[in-house]
């Protein structure tokens, strides 16, 4: 079914398993069920996959409707090629724990950096709100 060949149309991606990366950093994997002209996506049987190091965990989320502007990238997943040799799947609790630890470590380093800079009289403004200027 050739809907507008040569264009980046999502129509041919419908009912296929996709991985989408959102602007807030989340990774969702699900079946793309419906789209619209703004690339709003309807995902079915969505799973949020959290990666920490070599481990990952899947949190089942159900149905997701993603507003098109929040999509960073979207790619089809080959269902037949699902085995991950490198990554190791762990339970949800474990991955969340890992994520929390990772966040903690990052915050610590960030804090150390900020204090170090402050001691030297420099300050780097936090890029907290990337979207707002």
């Amino acid at each position: 079914m050739n809907y507008m060949p040569g264009t980046a149309s999502l129509i041919d991606d419908i009912d296929k398993k996709h991985l989408v990366l959102l602007r807030d950093g989340r990774t969702l994997i699900g079946f793309l069920r419906s789209i619209d002209q703004f690339a709003n996506l309807v995902f079915h049987q969505t799973v949020e996959r959290i990666h920490v190091g070599k481990k990952f965990g899947d949190i089942p989320r159900g149905i997701f409707i993603v507003r098109g502007e929040n999509v960073v990238l979207l790619g089809e997943i080959d269902i037949d090629k699902l085995c991950d040799n490198v990554l190791q799947q762990v339970s949800i609790e474990e991955i969340l724990e890992e994520q929390r630890l990772q966040q903690q470590a990052k915050q610590k380093t960030e804090k150390a950096k900020v204090t170090a800079l402050k001691d030297r009289g420099l300050s780097i403004p936090k890029a907290d709100n990337l979207d707002e200027y």
């Binding site: 079914m1 050739n2 809907y3 507008m4 060949p5 040569g6 264009t7 149309s9 129509i11 041919d12 419908i14 009912d15 398993k17 079946f31 069920r33 419906s34 789209i35 619209d36 002209q37 309807v42 079915h44 049987q45 799973v47 899947d58 089942p60 989320r61 159900g62 149905i63 269902i79 037949d80 699902l82």
Partner: protein, 812 residues
């Protein structure tokens, strides 16, 4: 809670009876705002109903119990919260068939009794059939408020009348009803159903207000064969029946309003598009609706896009699943797929959802067959993680599942070139086709297989896909493709050429031209709309016809012009400034007298001095730089070009010492033509008459002569002077003064040199020559002019002069 209805925009839950009335208006607004896709059901009701279902199910029903679940569900779902438990409890379990609590005689569905477990679906269907008209007839007399009384026992013989009329897969709808109490919501649902069967006629009465009135007149339903096909249902239809029908806001109510707004204003005279664009009941951004069955909904589609959306499918064989483009609820299919396979214990927590699935399963057990029965759960390609909610299918066996032919699978995505939608370069298209084919070839078989197993596939129908594609194509519209998409065009041109070179003459198709949607450039000029014979402009403005609030005209000035204008303004400002300064001095001078009186003796000297200085200053500003006895023409002109300046001079002259005043007057006389020209607008030269008259009267004869000479100084000056009122007045003044001098003092020196005489002669000559029209009347005519003229001119001319100047002959 998973609500698959929400995916289907046309299927919305029926509203609660009690809430319907006040929400009708809200529904209308809802539809207007969100289009037909708006769903305005109350999920809490649904949830409670399903929870009830779950409880009942847990009570250990058999196959018929499932039917009861459905019934209970339906009954519960239609009820308000208050009534939810009772109906659910009141609904008898067909298997157990306890008598209902109410007085209604419990009539186990005869179909059930007769056939036992043989053909559950058909029996239930017959139940429904039998029940429906019965209940419909009952519903009329029952009345709205009658919630507690039971129905008269359904006419069982009727059931046999309608075995063929309803396909058996309305088990849920019917099975719950006959023995159950006529719950108002059930009734309403039935009414809806009848309305469906009736077709278009009762449609306008679908609002809550009329439900009861309508059904008062309802009798047993006779289903026309034509409508019969509509009743052959898709699984979705059955789900609709179970869950309830959408309660659409009354389409008639707001129809007038909407029509009025849609009506375009009457045609106007000039503007291309008048009036606002017609109000679309369906906003442009909403996806296309699902195709509806024609007979019933077509009419509503035409008139009221928000008519009842009942998805009665067009064609459907009994018991056979619809062809796949018709949407089957994924839930049902899923459960169909899974039910025969795995029966793990039912997790208690997953109540409502699974019970819904159960019902769906039941509904579709006969309908859809089990095409996927042998296939594994299709949605678990990667493992269990993808079935978070629906991992456990219902535990109950559903009874015999007549195997039906598998439904049509989804399209295997085969690359089909759609020439009508793709306007891209044919070569491009071909390339992509090839790409797709190669891709499809590898996994075509598997993909197709997988797709066919996916019960949730094709949630987005073909029509919707086309709609999105259409929108995307619209974005490609361009009036100038070479401007908008330069690289694309060039690339394919090059490719074309290359292919022409390479395979010359083999394939002609390469030479086909590119087709991209091109939109003609339209000139949109705004022309103010005017009615013939009306005053002013339209007060109604619209999107296409905006009204210009301010008629601004762009005056484009060149730089030179602007510079010149600026210069003029600057100069004027300068003059005014000078005049202001002189005024301040003048005022001081004028106030001198008063102040002099006020100051004591000692300081009078100083004041006098001051006064003198001021006066001198004033004069100094007027006079020429070097000469003391001549007023600077330039300066004088400048000052006099401004009205204020003239006023200033007129006030100034009395204060000047006589000599200086005389020079000023000389200056004025000298420049009279120029002054006259500049004075055309203001006409205030005449302010000068009085002070000048004073001055003239004090002039000596010599200076008078000089003055007269100045007045006639340049060529043609006198004629110009004569054209100006002030000039004429001045002239007369001079002449009369001269005459006075002569007449009063015979020994005056006026006649000594011939200047005076000559001048007067020239004046008279001029006066005679000048046409009367250009001779402007003076402010006043001195009386002694005539005697003056009589000295110098002969009788004839004197008379002429007299006439011309309208000098009355006065005796001296």
């Amino acid at each position: 809670m998973f609500r698959f209805q929400s995916l289907d925009e046309d299927c919305t839950l029926e509203k609660e009876e009690g809430l319907v009335e006040e929400e009708d208006e809200i529904d209308q607004f809802n539809d207007d705002t969100f289009g037909d896709g708006a769903i305005d059901d109350d999920w809490q009701e649904e949830h409670k109903r399903l929870a009830e279902l779950e409880e009942q199910k847990n009570n250990g029903l058999g196959g018929l119990g499932l039917g009861a679940l459905g019934m209970g569900g339906m009954g519960g779902g239609n009820a308000s919260t208050v009534h939810l438990p009772p109906p659910a409890s009141r609904v008898p379990h067909p298997s157990s068939l306890p008598p209902p609590h109410h007085s209604l005689s419990s009539m186990p569905p005869p179909g059930l009794e007769e056939r036992g477990g043989g053909d559950l679906a058909e029996s239930l269907a017959m139940l429904i059939l039998g029940a429906d008209p019965a209940i419909a007839s009952v519903g009329g007399p029952a009345g709205p408020g009658d919630r507690s009384t039971g129905l008269p026992p359904p006419s069982i013989p009727q059931q046999h009348h309608h075995p063929s009329q309803l396909p058996p897969h309305h088990p849920l709808t019917s099975s719950g009803l006959p023995p159950g109490p006529p719950h108002p919501s059930l009734l309403s649902y039935q009414q809806h159903q009848h309305l469906i069967r009736r077709g278009a006629a009762p449609m306008p009465q679908m609002n809550s207000h009329n439900i009861w009135e309508n059904n008062l007149g309802f009798g047993p339903v006779s289903i026309t064969p034509g409508l019969l096909t509509q009743m052959e249902d898709s699984p979705l239809m059955s789900i609709i029946k179970e869950v309830g029908l959408p309660n659409r806001p009354p389409p008639m109510m707001s129809e007038d309003g909407r029509d009025l707004s849609e009506r375009a204003p009457p045609p106007r005279s000039s503007s291309p598009v008048i009036g606002s664009p017609p109000v679309r009941a369906v906003p442009i951004g909403t996806p296309p609706k699902q195709p509806m069955s024609h007979a019933m909904n077509h009419q509503q589609q035409i008139h009221h896009p928000t008519a009842v959306h009942v998805r009665a499918p067009v064609q459907h064989q009994h018991r056979y699943p619809p062809s796949f483009p018709e949407r089957i609820s994924p839930n049902t299919l899923l459960n169909i797929a899974n039910s025969p396979l795995c029966r793990p214990p039912f997790p208690a927590g997953m109540g409502p959802v699974l019970s819904q699935i159960q019902r769906a399963q039941m509904l579709n057990s006969q309908v859809a067959g089990f095409p996927r029965g042998c296939q594994g759960p299709p949605l678990l390609p990667g493992g269990g993680g993808f079935r978070p909610f629906f991992g456990q299918p219902p535990p109950h066996r559903m009874g015999p599942h007549p195997g039906g032919p598998p439904p049509n699978h989804n399209h295997v995505p085969c690359p089909v070139i759609r020439h009508n939608t793709t306007h891209l370069h044919p070569q491009h298209r071909r390339m992509l086709t090839q790409r797709m084919q190669s891709r499809g070839g590898e996994r075509g078989g598997r993909v197709g297989d997988w797709r066919s197993r996916d019960p949730y596939s094709n949630l987005m129908t073909q029509r919707e896909k086309e709609w999105v594609a259409k929108i995307q194509m619209m974005q490609l519209q361009s009036t100038d493709p070479y401007l908008d998409d330069y690289y694309y065009q060039n690339y394919f041109e090059k490719m074309e050429k290359r292919q022409e070179r390479d395979r010359d003459g083999v394939r002609k198709e390469h030479t086909t031209k590119l087709i991209t949607p091109q939109v003609a450039k339209l000139e949109h000029t705004y022309r103010p709309v005017q009615f013939a014979g009306s005053l002013g402009k339209l007060t109604v403005s619209s999107v296409n016809n905006p009204r210009k609030m301010i008629d601004t005209v762009v005056t484009s000035r060149t730089d030179d012009e602007e510079k010149r204008e600026k210069q003029v303004w600057n100069k004027r400002r300068q003059i005014l400034y000078t005049v202001e300064k002189m005024y301040s001095l003048l005022l001081e001078v004028q106030d001198f007298e008063k102040r002099f009186m006020q100051t004591p003796e000692e300081q009078r000297e100083a004041l006098l001095e001051q006064h003198k200085t001021h006066t001198l200053q004033l004069y100094a500003s007027l006079k020429e730089k070097e000469w003391d006895d001549r007023v600077s023409d330039e300066q004088c002109l400048l000052i006099m070009s401004v009205r204020k300046g003239k006023r200033l001079i007129s006030r100034l002259i009395p204060f000047l010492p006589p000599l200086q005043a005389a020079t000023v007057v000389m200056g004025i006389a000298r420049n009279l033509p120029a002054l006259a020209k500049k004075d055309k607008q203001d006409q205030v030269l005449c302010w000068l008459v009085e002070p000048i008259a004073v001055v003239i009267s004090s002039l000596s004869s010599a200076s008078l002569t000089d003055l007269l000479q100045e007045l006639q100084g340049s060529e043609g000056q006198l004629s110009r002077v004569l054209q100006n009122k002030f000039g004429v007045t001045l002239l007369y003044l001079i002449l009369s003064e001269g005459e006075r001098m002569q007449s009063s003092n015979p020994t005056c020196q006026l006649m000594d040199d011939n200047r005076w005489t000559e001048l007067v002669f020239s004046v008279t000559r001029e006066l005679l020559n000048v046409p009367s029209s250009s001779l402007s009347p003076p402010l006043f005519t001195p009386p002694n002019l005539l005697s003056l003229f009589s000295r110098y001119v002969d009788r004839q001319r004197l008379e002429l002069l007299q006439e011309k100047l309208q000098i009355s002959a006065l005796s001296r």
